[in-house]
Amino acid sequence: MKVLFFVCQLVGLWVLNELGYFITERLHLPFPGNVMGLLLLFILLVTGVIKLAWIESAASFLIRHLAFFFIPVAVGLMEVGGLLVMNGVAIMTSLVVSAVVGLLVTSGLSQLLERRKERANEHIRNTM
């Protein structure tokens, strides 16, 4: 019974995924169908059409093992080994520098704005 419920949840997530692709293709939206599926599920959860308990166990199972899906894709590195060796320095520079830039910009900016918001809240509390 539990297994059947779990399978139904998986099918449900798959249906939402297919629906996402159907919508983006029909409307010619320039972004991925699976992201549309994500947005659909989010909206259905917020509006209460779908209850969290209906899909939670399959969803958390898939997210917990998300890394598994990366593996067969990463094995494809076998095919591009030559290209990676040839352009290794350029690619690694791009990956390392952009990771550092992204980390510093994201954390620096959000910490600054978070502090400012906290200070503003304190100010409101002090003047009340």
């Binding site: 997530l13 939402l16 297919e18 996402g20 692709y21 320039p30 972004f31 991925p32 169908g33 699976n34 992201v35 599926g37 994500l38 947005l39 659909l40 599920l41 959860l45 969290l52 899909i55 939670e56 969803a59 958390s60 898939l62 997210i63 998300l66 890394a67 598994f68 899906f69 593996i71 067969p72 894709v73 990463a74 094995v75 494809g76 590195l77 076998m78 095919e79 591009v80 352009n87 350029a90 690619i91 791009s94 990956l95 520098v97 952009s98 990771a99 550092v100 830039v101 992204g102 980390l103 510093l104 910009v105 994201t106 954390s107 900016l109 959000s110 910490q111 704005l113 978070e114 918001k117």
Partner: protein, 228 residues
């Protein structure tokens, strides 16, 4: 014969994954992260057995069937933490949009500076998004899906190696800002790293990863044709 090879490649992948989880728990290190460790192990076994990626591919198609539904499932952590997103909506939105743009553009510009082929540069653009979404964006902007996946995995690993060290040394004391940066830059792997250090950082990273995917999948297909 080919059905047998397919079955074996699936068993090999599942086995490598299960083994890597055990190893990662016992010896936590960037080199024992499941993706890095399993991939290295599988490629080694395939090379020893003299099998090509072409022979592994049918198994890959079966195993990645649930990639799409797994992406849809990311709506669940987003929904669970929606209060957090609302409370910090402005710093979160600014950090995610500007951060995703900064990491994507710097990667693409360095690629152009080194005169890398265009499909390689396009693949560099998607590296901060989780694999299933990266593959879809790649199809839209004309990159190489295998390279995109490789860059995503490399970025995730790099972020978990550099991130904690770099952010602590550059004066980031807020768990919120820390988690946000890890999620924006290093998607799933960054989220897992942030979650082991701090519960709030983990939750924020998960949300950031999902939102970065959405932001990037809207920005890139409109931006890339103008740059390349």
């Amino acid at each position: 014969m080919s059905t047998f090879v397919t079955l074996c490649s699936i068993l090999l992948t599942v086995g490598a994954y299960m083994l890597s989880r055990l190893v990662a728990r016992k010896y936590p290190s960037p080199f024992t992260t499941p993706v890095f460790f399993s991939t290295a192990l599988i490629i080694t076994v395939l090379l020893i057995l003299g099998l090509s990626f072409e022979q592994y591919k049918p198994g890959k198609e079966i195993m990645t069937f649930f990639l799409g539904p797994a992406t849809v499932a990311l709506a669940v952590p987003l929904y669970k933490n929606r209060q957090l997103v609302v409370t910090y909506s402005i710093p979160a939105a600014a950090g995610i949009v500007i951060g995703a743009l900064a990491t994507t553009l710097s990667a693409v510009l360095i690629g152009l500076l080194f005169r890398l082929p265009h499909d390689v540069v396009a693949s560099l653009g998607v590296k901060s998004v989780t694999v299933p979404i990266a593959l879809e964006i790649t199809a839209l902007i004309g990159g190489n899906p295998t390279l995109s996946a490789a860059f995503v995995v490399l970025t995730g690993t790099l972020g978990t190696m550099i991130g904690p060290w770099l952010l602590k040394r550059s004066g980031i004391t807020s768990s919120f800002a820390y988690g946000l940066a890890m999620g924006v830059v290093s998607h799933g792997q960054g989220t897992a790293q942030a979650a082991t250090e701090n519960e709030l950082a983990g939750a924020v990273a998960g949300v950031a990863m999902g939102l970065t995917a959405i932001v990037t999948s809207i920005i890139l297909p409109t931006l890339i044709p103008h740059i390349l």
